[in-house]
């Protein structure tokens, strides 16, 4: 873990306790997870109890306390997508990747998560892989789409 980067992020937010969430978001975006050492460092520098850091890091679902895979799949489960069959798409993706939503596979290839609305409802059912949107999905399309990822 790049400790210098963590210090930089904390400095950017002037080491303010109220900027805790912004700091954790920056660390999450940089490292794709929140390593325990990073949380310890943040607690120490911000003078915030570890229990509050822990609560914050587990309360907000943008954060992950475990490392993510090379490719992050987010299947939208918003109401519009749900009504258009998102649940079935999710099930097929779970089958194909061998993991459930919230998990990462053993080879660290895919991380699968559900997300509650990406805001592109016209494309529903939609999923996002590596921040690229794949829309108008049907369960049968999933296999071909996932094959493209190493």
């Amino acid at each position: 873990m790049d400790t210098a980067k963590i210090e930089q992020i904390i400095d950017k937010h002037h080491c303010e306790a109220s900027a805790l969430i912004e700091i954790l978001l920056d660390i999450q975006n940089e490292l794709h997870w929140l390593p325990p050492e990073a949380l310890e460092r943040v607690a120490a520098r911000l003078q915030v109890p570890v229990s509050r850091i822990q609560h914050t890091a587990t309360f907000y679902k943008a954060f992950s306390l475990v490392p993510k895979g090379r490719h992050e799949i987010h299947v939208c489960m918003g109401t519009a997508c749900h009504v258009r069959g998102a649940q079935r798409v999710l099930e097929v993706v779970e089958n194909l990747t061998g993991i459930q939503a919230g998990e990462t596979d053993e080879e660290m290839k895919f991380s699968l998560d559900t997300v509650n609305c990406l805001g592109c409802c016209a494309l529903g059912p939609v999923m996002e892989i590596d921040e690229q949107h794949l829309g108008k999905l049907a369960p049968a399309m999933a296999a071909d789409l996932l094959k493209k990822y190493e």
């Binding site: 954790l24 509050r52 954060f63 109401t79 009504v83 089958n95 509650n116 592109c120 016209a122 529903g124």
Partner: protein, 650 residues
Amino acid sequence: MPRINSPAELERLRQEILSKRDPDRPRVAVCAGAGCLATGAEKVIAAFNAEIEKQGLSAEVTTKGTGCPGFCERGPVVVVGPEEICYLQVTPKDVPEIVAKTLKENKVVERLLYVDPAKKERAVHESDIPFYRNQERNIIGNNIKIDPKCIDDYFALGGYSALAKALFGMAPEQVIDEVKKSKLRGRGGGGFPTGVKWEAARATPGETKYVIVNADEGDPGAFMDRAVLEGNPHSILEGLTIGAYAIGAHEGYVYVRQEYPLALANVSLAIRQAEERGLLGRNILGSGFDFTVKVHRGAGAFVCGEETALILSLEGKPGEPKPRPPYPAAKGLWGRPTNINNVETWANVPLIINRGADWFTGFGTEKSKGTKIFSLVGKIKNTGLVEVPMGVTLRDIVYKIGDGIPGGKKFKAVQTGGPAGGCIPEQHLDIAVDFDELTKVGAIMGSGGMIVMDEDTCMVDVARYFLNFLAQESCGKCSPCREGIKQMHRILTDITEGRGKEGDIDLLEEIALSTRSASLCGLGKSAPNPVLSTIRYFRHEYEAHIREKRCPAYACKELVSYYIDPEACGACLLCMKRCTSDAISGGRNLIHVVDQVKCNRCGTCFDVCPAKFGAVIRLSGEPVPGAIPEELRVVVRKKAATQEAAKEAR
């Protein structure tokens, strides 16, 4: 870029910008909202730039990526000015033709136009398209005219003139009076009179006060705020600054959910631009009024759309709502008087200041004035953002603007208000959509999400879906919400999976009552709404699931079987090939059979079976017929069979 030091300078700058823009010159506007970007708008913009350069037209034609105009179903959307010719579902391949025909020869590319299904004619101009024609697009209508990254575009439309008017021509109390007179009600879901809220914050003593834009937009299926914040960020900043002046706040926040990276980028850029030009920061426009704005990201918590939770999030804490009283107007961020409003509420403020409260009250109903942007999504042909005056009927929104249900399916319900809302059935389609009318039928306006559902949607599953969502999003602090939602969800899951029992509906209603009455915040209090409203209008579906283990919509996996009718099967191999769990056996002339054990109920076979066979049947609440004997599995080709029958008949 130089600071603008007075309203006079602002007007001079505006005239300068306008004088350089010939309204008759051709221009290309391509929607660059998140939805169209996801369908390739960036490549379309690049294609236009390349082709226009290639044709030597760069000096005359401007191309820009704009804010979202709302017709999301047909994106990428391109509007070619000055005639405002609207092309839909444009791909890079279409661009050379558009440039050659429309830009050079002033001719229309017919095949890219909207076809009015009723009149069977093509609509040339944006204003001809029924989707747009039936709207009143006071706010979102500006999106297609603005490149959100270009402040000059906002100036060209009159931007910041309302701020100048407020700062130099009105006392803070007068601003509040005007907003009160307009009867603007909060657009985030609460529907509380905005002017009254501002007045309360102003009245609380204290030097330090805050104003906040709530751009958390957590309702799944609602993306109105995204479009406005992405597409016209300066309008929000202008509204916010006017509000700050009225209340006496000098610091503001824009709280944006982190799932909206483009909105975050555009509003952050807009803030920097406004600061540069002296429209934010110290001594705004030379008025002596100071106001700074910071952007803060959400981190994936629907509950942070609730005011007190949002405030806690800004303070770097978990978003566990606080009891009210005290209200944020008295004690909010850091214990100071704070005013939070939704994005759309703020967007209305410059319009009200410029055009007056009387103009605003000209739209809408007695108690719900102005227009509202709705996101019309789900089982609807014209998915997108729709802005109408309050009081338009649900029927008009769904059919006149939305063009009805795709696939010839039957309308079943519209769900409004997100997870706090309710489902409105066909018998109420003629209600006038406003705050109070929606409440009367057991729904709420919410932030404006409208999910259309058809005959294939199971209403018990819809209730289960919302409770599943709320179980994930509840902060968990208070037991009626945490336990109540968990238990209601459990019961609904049992019902949808065939384990429902007599008495479940009564139990749901009893848990709903304590959850609604005793919960700490709005999330818990409104959590029972989807359950209660679906029981109210679709009790028969609940009873079918419980008593007959039958799902009338054939949606609940555990209660549905897919069966191939041997009489109808044409043995075309299509369902076999597409089956996602290898559950279908058969061959070229061998009737296909679904292995009920392997089948995962994905429904693909039902979707792909050719219409001429229509052999896949969904069964629910009845047993799957036994297998036919192997000898009879051979397909007799229908054509030959009917010829035989015709021969015999003669």
